[in-house]
């Protein structure tokens, strides 16, 4: 909650052309590295059956608990399942969280933030109270509360992640709308008799797109961590679904003899989260170079 200072800073972005922005982004090593990891994740998820040498649930008991080798790059678990294959298939779950859960939370936050910022008054008051409450809860804790009600499972984790991560968007969009609705071009649109919906979607929203994109790049890693934490606790994806969090959890019983089971999926989480964080930071700097401290 305290890591969101950039939301305030980012609001008046100077007008700069897209090619300038692209140049700045490509010059940043972090952005390139981050983007490569993100692309790798997407490729892994889409081509999982082609990349993985074994099925994610293919058991082979005689080959159980083998250390990493050429045959099993990341070793095997107690049931002889290939950890590399499981990790590759696990990327699908992380990508689903990144797109579906974060997408839904974006829509919720966008609608609520726009309503609050555009209409103000009692609507604003009500939505702000709700947003502040959601904001006060630590993300993981609130997600656990939703899981308590909905029951464990991957779909429920997605719902929970969507329901806990919209508050950042709502706050950002509300702030954008508050400042933009007083601008002359919005006033002009209103004088011309445009409908509220048209003003919101055609005039205000496109102008607040940049910070929303930055926030999304930084919300995705949080969502991935929440999902893997819940799956680790046994509240998320259920076996044999190879969520990275649940693979780590299942490796705990063998940590002394087969540490690779828990090690590799955790490394993947770290890389993916790092990729999104690097890309998000670079994106923010490229969109507004003045912010780069």
């Amino acid at each position: 909650m305290a890591d969101n200072n950039y939301l305030i800073d980012i609001q008046d972005k100077p007008s700069s052309s897209f090619s300038d922005f692209r140049k700045r982004l490509l010059r940043s090593k972090g952005a390139v590295f981050g983007a490569s990891i993100i692309i790798l994740l997407i490729v892994c998820a889409i081509l999982a059956p082609l990349i993985a040498p074994y099925g994610y649930d293919e058991m082979n008991l005689p080959e159980g608990l083998q250390a990493p080798s050429q045959k099993h790059l990341f070793g095997t678990d107690e049931l002889g399942r290939d950890i590399f294959s499981r990790v590759v298939f696990g990327s699908r779950i992380s990508l689903q969280i990144a797109t579906i859960a974060v997408g839904v939370s974006l829509i919720i936050g966008l609608v609520l933030g726009a309503l609050a910022g555009y209409y103000g008054g009692i609507v604003d008051f009500g939505i702000c109270a709700l947003t502040d409450t959601a904001w006060a809860f630590p993300m993981t804790l609130l997600a656990i509360a939703f899981i308590a009600a909905l029951g464990p499972g991957l779909v429920n984790v997605m719902i929970a992640v969507a329901l806990v991560s919209w508050a950042g968007y709502a706050r950002l969009v509300r702030g954008q709308f508050l400042s933009l609705r007083e601008q002359e071009f919005v006033e002009a649109a209103r004088v011309l008799g445009m409908s509220d919906m048209r003003i919101i979607f055609r005039h205000i929203l496109p102008n607040s797109l940049a910070p929303i994109i930055v926030l999304t790049t930084l919300e995705v890693p949080k969502a991935i961590i929440v999902e893997s934490s819940l799956s680790f606790l046994g509240l998320g994806a259920q076996p044999p679904t190879p969520s990275w969090g649940s693979i780590i959890s299942s490796g705990r019983s063998f940590i002394d003899t087969a540490p690779w089971i828990s090690f590799f999926p955790g490394l993947m989480i770290m890389l993916v989260v790092l990729g999104f964080n690097l890309f998000g930071d670079a994106l923010r700097d490229a969109l507004d170079p003045r912010l780069k401290d």
Binding site: A145, R252, I255
Partner: protein, 311 residues
């Protein structure tokens, strides 16, 4: 800034927190009461006569409208009664009082570790901006930020408990049990905190009075220590309260890694056992203490920064 004005400010802060707290109780209450599954079935099992079933339903007040149930729940809550655990058959408040110190101990020690690392790292990074100490600290912070704490905890457990046998693998009781989880949480949190300390310090270094101090020929050391640091520490004090809340929430995961019998472990165990009164109570207590951390942050800020007006 009189004591009276400060007191007034504190009371005002607490009052503004009340609606949020009420919202939290509503949310936790609703979440668990709209949950699928019949709580009566959980208590008595499926094989009872309809009379017994109705009797228990009646006793729990589940036959009444949701609003009535909520007000009953709230009036009990205000009297410190959080209900009875279905599993353990004893007051939820009693269980929470047992477990809370375990969570608090971990949260506080992680906070100390986090700030002991983040303060110097953030300041060194800011003072040496865009040179190697800055890059080193900030790369470290970025990596630390990207690590899931539970995985980092398992790594520490593997190296320091299994391989080197320096600390117990898991459990609770002695100081040695505390070391690994506290470091797992403290180190990952230090990453986030160091970034904030750095930007807060940079903010100050940019100010005119720092330029003045430099231009009147003061040694760089004096400028940093006497002028910059003191002012940069003001927002950092607020961070203490905020991170405390954050760490209390984060303990949910690490308590499960290291089998520490705290509130977080209690919540997860109770969810899996569908012991809803316990989930409800523990959730409210944990969230309320996180909010207390946030209020504390505001108050500390007002105490430290003479520019803050109390109204």
């Amino acid at each position: 800034m009189g004591v009276q004005a400060l007191l007034k400010y504190i009371i005002k802060k607490i009052v503004t927190m009340i609606p949020v707290l009420v919202c939290i109780t509503v949310i936790v209450f609703l979440i668990l009461h709209l949950a699928p599954g019949d709580p009566v079935d959980l208590i008595v099992g499926p094989n009872v006569t309809p009379e017994v079933y109705e009797n228990i339903r009646n006793k729990l007040g589940l036959d009444q409208p949701l609003t009535v149930q909520y007000f009953k729940f709230m009036s009990n809550l205000l009297r410190g009664d959080l209900g009875t655990s279905i599993l353990q058959q004893r007051p939820v408040s009693e269980i929470i009082i047992e477990r809370f110190p375990v969570t608090l101990e971990l949260g506080l020690s992680a906070l100390v570790i986090s700030f002991a690392i983040a303060l110097p790292a953030g300041i060194i990074a800011a003072v040496n901006r865009n040179s190697w100490p800055d890059y080193a600290c900030m790369s470290g912070a970025l990596v630390g930020m990207s690590m899931p704490t539970f995985w980092f905890g398992i790594l520490l457990m593997y190296f320091f408990a299994y391989k080197m046998r320096l600390f117990p693998i898991s459990g609770y009781g002695t100081l040695r049990h505390l070391v690994l989880p506290a470091f797992a949480m403290g180190l990952t949190d230090a990453a986030v905190t160091a970034r904030m300390v750095r930007s807060s310090m940079l903010e100050v270094i940019r100010q005119d009075y720092i330029r003045t101090a430099r231009s009147k020929g003061l040694a760089e050391k004096v400028v940093i220590n006497q002028h910059a640091l003191k002012n940069a520490l003001i927002p950092i004090v607020t961070l203490l309260g905020l991170r405390m809340g954050w760490l209390l929430g984060g303990s949910v995961i690490l308590e499960n890694v290291f089998s520490r019998p705290g509130l977080g472990r209690l919540i997860v165990d109770s969810i899996l056992a569908r012991d809803y009164p316990v989930v409800q109570g523990a959730m409210i207590v944990l969230t309320a203490s996180i909010m207390a951390g946030n209020i504390l942050a505001d108050i500390l800020y007002a105490v430290v920064d003479p520019r803050i007006k109390y109204n």
